[in-house]
Symmetry: C2
Subunit: 602 residues, 2 copies
């Protein structure tokens, strides 16, 4: 089906919006009147620019408050409409969106509405234009698409049809199956928007909080399935009013929007894509350092029980190991996508059942693989780029450790330092810029086939944080995405690398012996734990000694975890899961973040 996006969903000037929509592969746009009025381009130039970009102008909108009016007001509306039809002829737009009347002058008279819409359609037809009538959820008398359809049926003119908008339908009812009663050829246009389930004023909800399909609480796939059942084969157009997208880079938003529409169509069997390859766990993670921070990073890894296992023959890259964990310390000094310069997680390498298929899927979902850096990674890997700039390397799941190339193993020390019992990567947290958070969720969900976990709200001394994790279906790869709830003058979000161990107390003792910089936890925390009387006093004492936090879930699972001092944006966490604990210790976010802040003396 043809894909379209409303210009109002994108930020910038009309030209920027058109270019962004075209680059993301949309077939068409809905042109908003305000975007036209504010553009220095003439209607003819907009038409030719759209044509050059391969975009149709599928709809012009909105035209308001024209039907069910006293005669003189309707005549005035008809004069306005003639101007609009002439303008649309110059633009090459052939469908006009007419919203159900919201004005105080509207009358509760369906026969009058039908008669006036019919006259409007006659004039439209003279200009080669069709009218798509839409029931706004806050229309004065017509606020339901079935009501709008009864009026259209009564008006009975070939140039008059219906515009459906998933927001207006799904904000009023959860079951859109009544749409089936409408003949598909009388549905002239379909607008799609998802939205979180809010108990809010519907106008406020619609104007500020819409989001792309799959990112809210509505069943967009079910809605589109009902629309398809009518026989409708027109465009699917995203009309998303959202405060964040209105100020984000339109090129990012357009790709994000298109990806959501591709995923929606894939789910409905309309546009097949290679299925996601299963992810089989972590191959390695890469930490970017610069000349100044490289020694501190090496010292920190050593104090965590890692050993320097190999050094690259040509590049300033080292391989560190402990248990199954492999970390590349990369001092090549590549710039950070986020703009920061300090140490950070710059690449995550994941084992994939089929990297080639992952690459094909990524291409189909507008995330083309980047040419690999073959000097370090094996040529059988595929490199994708997450919305925050983090590199994602997909390596074949089989084999031993051949994904890195060009390394020269270092001779084992004669008296090797003991490790700390860290066995594998539990999860990774990637702090996102606020305006990339939804895009990142969609990227991991659609491109990599990961699953979204429940949203969380975390409290930090610096403000509230949104958190949502994605995990591979097998559960072996888990990435926590976080972003500030309100963006301020604070630093970009932190990252952390959570490493699993089998016995957090043994690991904590080993870390102490190795001199690891463990984040101290306030004594008040342990007193509070003691007051809740759920843990043995001896256990609490042992936790206090080592700065270990714990969280318990409703099913009796327990997480024990501790944090290190930060290395640039990056922190290390050590976790032990007991009794099937699945969470990420969100309840302790305030404690350790405040401890970190207090320690920094800020």
């Amino acid at each position: 089906m043809r894909t379209s996006i409303a210009t109002v969903a994108l930020s910038g000037t009309l030209e920027e919006k058109l270019r962004a929509a075209a680059e993301a592969g949309f077939d068409a746009v809905e042109l908003f009147e305000d975007d036209l009025i504010a553009s220095p381009l003439s209607p003819e130039r907009i038409r030719s620019l759209a044509r050059e970009l391969g975009l149709g102008i599928e709809l012009y909108q909105p035209f308001r408050d024209v039907e069910a009016l006293p005669p003189e007001l309707f005549e005035r509306g008809l004069r306005r409409a003639r101007h609009t039809f002439q303008l649309m002829n110059r633009l090459g737009a052939t469908t006009l969106l007419v919203c159900s009347n919201c004005s105080a002058e509207a009358m509760d008279d369906d026969a009058l509405a039908a008669e006036q819409l019919r006259r409007l359609a006659e004039v439209a037809a003279d200009h080669g234009i069709r009218i798509a009538y839409e029931a706004l959820a806050w229309g004065r008398y017509v606020d339901d698409e079935l009501h709008a359809w009864r009026i259209i049926a009564a008006a009975d003119h070939p140039a008059l049809g219906l515009c459906l908008d998933s927001f207006h339908t799904l904000s009023r009812r959860s079951d859109p199956s009544a749409i089936r009663r409408i003949p598909g050829e009388k549905i002239f246009f379909v607008q799609l928007a998802d939205a979180p389930r809010l108990n809010a004023d519907v106008l406020e909800w619609s104007r500020h909080h819409r989001c792309f399909p799959g990112e809210g609480g509505f069943d967009l796939a079910g809605f589109v399935a009902e629309v398809l059942a009518t026989g409708y084969r027109g465009p699917l157009s995203l009309e998303v009013f959202n405060d964040v997208f209105r100020q984000a880079d339109p090129r990012h938003t357009a790709v994000h929007a298109m990806r959501s529409l591709l995923a929606l169509q894939e789910g409905l069997g309309l546009r097949p894509a290679p299925p996601p390859a299963e992810l089989r766990g972590w191959a390695l993670v890469e930490i970017a350092v610069d000349d100044r921070s490289a020694p501190a990073a090496a010292e920190l890894l050593g104090s965590l029980g890692f050993s320097r296992a190999a050094r690259h023959r040509l590049e300033p890259v080292e391989l560190w190991r402990q248990g199954e964990i492999r970390i590349l310390l990369d001092a090549r000094g590549r710039p950070s996508a986020g703009g920061g310069t300090g140490p950070r997680l710059s690449a995550l390498a994941l084992r994939s059942d089929d990297p080639d298929r992952s690459a094909r899927r990524a291409r189909a979902l507008l995330a083309p693989p980047r040419p690999l850096r073959p000097e370090v990674m094996g040529e059988d890997a595929v490199e994708l780029v997450a919305p925050d700039g983090t590199s994602l390397l997909l390596c074949p799941a089989g084999g031993t450790g051949s994904r890195v190339t060009g390394f020269r193993p270092l001779p084992a020390a004669t008296a090797p330092r003991p490790d700390a019992g860290l066995s594998h990567i539990d999860h990774v947290e990637l702090g996102q810029p606020l305006d990339r958070f939804e895009e990142a969720l969609l990227f991991f969900r659609s491109v990599l086939g990961m699953r979204l976990e429940e949203s969380q709200e975390l409290t930090a001394p610096e403000g509230l944080i949104r958190g949502r994790s994605v995990s591979s279906p097998s559960g072996e790869v888990r990435i926590a995405l976080t972003a500030p709830l309100v963006e301020g003058g604070r630093a970009p979000g932190g990252q952390h690398l959570a490493l699993a161990c089998g016995d957090v107390f043994a690991t904590a003792r080993a870390l102490r012996a190795l001199g690891a910089p463990i984040l101290p936890v306030p004594g008040n925390y342990y007193e509070h734990l003691a007051a809740s009387a759920e843990l043995e006093p001896d256990l609490i004492e042992a936790m206090r000694e080592h700065g270990i936090l714990c969280d318990r879930d409703r099913h009796g699972g327990t997480l024990f975890h501790l944090y290190t001092a930060a290395l640039g944006r990056l922190r290390f966490e050590v976790v032990q899961r007991v009794g099937g604990y699945r969470g990420l210790g969100a309840a302790n976010a305030f404690v350790w973040r405040a401890a970190r802040r207090a320690r920094r003396g800020r």
Copy 2:
């Protein structure tokens, strides 16, 4: 009355919060449990720190889900309570907030609730502690303060009383007069929060959207008056959960909070302050430039018809004039509070009926005047600093032009350039950082006695903008404050200086002759105006010729306005008001902002 603030209303670590509250002059705090748990300071150290800072710990909170429970659950709650009482003894806190039960185990049994609260109060009394019971608006069975009061009355224990929270009361009803029925000595604590009127889930509304008194839609003065009528003389404590304040600098938030409480008390006659002096119009505005931008600024002023009237004897400051408008071009290179370096409005000088009284009032409202820079401004002026760093100079309303000193008039040119008919300053727009917007509104309202106009939402190509204006009661001084609705990576908000003229077409012709860089307006705008058929075609043609926009209000008033190219953050606007038009042309914000964006080629 004693003033208090909840630690949860401030951002940062507990120590930062306590210091910020003390610096702003609060008498006490409500200590949130999470802030204690996450603090590296022991309860004894927190107690002594608070004492050193002159702060009482007026309340410890929250204690949840303890009453109306099956016996074994209540006993467990009582054990928790004993720990809490011991902790409070160490903190020196004597009142515990107990929230009405929200848990699934709570029973709808007021007699049981009363009996268990009585037992809790007995144990509390043994520790020298009082229980303040609060009805949460989302309590399972007790969600109303009168219901809570009936239970307290039935329990009848001297250590059990009520905690009132204006949010819980006013979110449920607009008339708080029923509070009068409660004896003042049984009200143990009063929490204050305002909130915008939202049609939203009450928990979400309470946890994210509270604001300081006078900044929302609730009648806080009416609420406090009812509380005072009961005989209550305990503390007034601000408990404000707000996403923005949670991430803002706590020192700013604490001053902002205290100022709101001072203004509230002033309004109730509880804490008199010198009344605001009437503002009598603009004395001058100052534009800060640096060496590089000074020539461009001078050229722009010249092209707008301003003449260089005087030059300072010692400092690189020039005085430019046109009509009643005086502009100082200040190249002393003082740093910008907003961090920017380009040209900007750095000071607004206003005529005041009584600058000395303004200074005393400002001191009373935590905005102490800054030592004046006497080398430029007369010594009879007073300098305040707005939250965004803009200097506000209050000059005596009488006299001629003696507020500036040390200037040497420049000889009039033999053939003076014509001016452009600009007569006076219409208004000034100051773009605010998102987290200073409310603080700025409060500053102008309380410190300067200005009036708040209606809020507006403006659309720009870069995103949505909040706008709200303040004006002096006489209407002679008007300042539009704007801020992005969602903060992103965009530049700090712009500023503009709107200059009035009596005939916008004559002024536009003069500006053209002078070579002023007028912002071109898209032809589509004029075609749209023509389609609406409300203006004469000749008038529209004249507007098109000069890049003039217009806006009409419901009462037949019309604004004609045009914009210049920007000078750094600063733009000039020329306005003519016809037929009593009062607005600021918000309807055209998208057009001129998009035109500016398109022109910059971004």
